[in-house]
Symmetry: C2
Subunit: 290 residues, 2 copies
């Protein structure tokens, strides 16, 4: 039996870090559902989430937290989501919707395809985040005005899709329907490549440094912004690298090609060709951000 | 005859863009000198700077603007600074201090070494900026709490150095003494490399895009921050590339080495080695920014 509307649903969020905690906070603030249950490994996290009124109930045990849920949202790093998809099926009631907010979608949606027939799976990925992680960084407005990708499977029912879409709208985000593979190609270029270039920048500067502290004394806004995402969560990024290898390798290859071209033009002193590259990048950057 | 204190000095700022305009604004707000003269090519710029009370007087003609100055600050892109150093000597009164705030220092300090003996030259580079340029973006607090590199030449007198140092302190910045070549090596890694990596990111994303707009719809905070400096001023960056080629090529080489290493580890699925690289970058990034 499926619940038709979010307002009648018990939503269980598994993982109360930045993403899961903010989702609970947003749903709770909007009074969007009947009941919010949080699942976390540590009692302290659950107590904090309850005190913040992000959740109505907490559970350390996955089965206890999800068995009554109409909609379960998995909000842990990708490889943990994959592990939970492998065991959660028998714990869910018939018609329950299983959604995730993991950073890559192909591996997750493939695993979701192997869930028992009584479960309604749908992949999702909200395009937001911060370099700081954890429940203490969570905020109800994290999803507001952000793109929230939805990746239904062939088996996903209209009702299940509708419930997921209601959740996206309830937290103030914009739903965007995408295929899992197309999603993974896009985020490789727009999210995983920026991360690896930020890491490259910090690692290269470190190599060029002479350990006298001068380099960091000179570091101004350009370095700060370009390197910001290098401070992101390592477990999250390792899971992304592990589950989106081919698209990321393609993006890295393209970045290396561009960098080699810039190097060879600079080596040749061809400032006119360099100008064209810099102008195209400047124009595109300015188009994308107003 | 040299002026001993900034309070008695006429300061002429050549170029009233973001850097020159903000310098005029800071000096004016602090009432740090006797008189501020601005030199700009366009009458409208001078009128605006006067209306904003950034300058006391404006001059379209370089000679007219600098002939009475005790301290001249060249605040245009690097190649324009080089051109002006080549012609400004005979226009300056004996003992006048000639300073610049250009982004690279070796080429400028070499040119300053060829100035007539009656001029007191000193190179400088404040470590700040924005991706938006022009007088309308200028603000008196641009230099506050920023590192302001000073590069005295062997011929620079103590009095000239003292006057430049007074100016740095007057705008709220921290003076840092550096050799021109060391400065250029450092900014290649900490400022010019971030710019070229931001350009690389935008160019690579553009290549991987399928022109359906989806990529930019998905672009979140990571892409925005990592690409921000790609929107910077093209004339300024081309002058930097033209005058700091060897250090930038070295930094590009190191970045390509790091990127190739990340690629080969990912290709091999060696997540344990990748973890060490990501952790080192994260640790360094967090150390640098509190």
């Amino acid at each position: 039996m499926e619940v038709d509307f979010l307002a009648q649903a018990q939503v269980t969020i598994v993982g109360l870090g930045l993403m899961g905690g903010s989702l609970a906070a947003a749903l709770s603030t909007a009074r969007a559902c009947r009941k919010i249950v949080g699942v976390a490994r540590r009692q302290l996290t659950l107590t904090t989430a309850r005190m913040l009124r992000f959740i109505d109930e907490g559970a350390e045990d996955l089965q206890a937290g999800v068995q009554e849920a109409d909609l379960v949202v998995l909000a842990t790093p990708v490889r943990d989501i994959l592990e939970k998809i492998g065991i959660i099926g028998p714990m869910l009631k018939p018609g329950a919707v299983l959604m995730d907010v993991g950073s890559t979608k192909a591996a997750i949606c493939e695993a979701m395809g192997r869930l028992p027939a009584h479960v309604q799976p749908i992949g999702a990925h909200p395009m937001c985040g911060k370099e700081s992680s954890g429940l203490t960084m969570a905020e109800p407005d994290l999803y507001r005005d952000r793109t929230f990708v939805l990746v239904p499977l062939e088996r996903t029912s209209d009702a299940a899709f509708g419930l997921a879409r209601e959740l996206v709208l309830a937290v103030g985000a914009r739903p965007l329907l995408l295929d899992a593979y197309r999603h993974d190609d896009l985020v490789a270029a727009i999210s995983h490549l920026p991360y690896l270039l930020a890491v490259t920048l910090v690692a290269a500067a470190e190599q060029l440094d002479r350990d006298d502290g001068l380099m960091w004394e000179l570091a101004a806004g350009g370095f700060r912004d370009t390197s910001r995402v290098a401070a992101g969560s390592i477990p999250m990024m390792l899971d992304i690298l592990a589950t989106n290898r081919t698209p990321i390798l393609q993006a890295l290859h393209e970045a290396q090609r561009q960098l080699a071209q810039i190097e060879s033009l600079l080596q040749a002193g061809d400032l006119q060709s360099l100008r064209l590259i810099l102008e195209a990048a400047r124009r595109r950057r300015m188009e994308v951000y107003q």
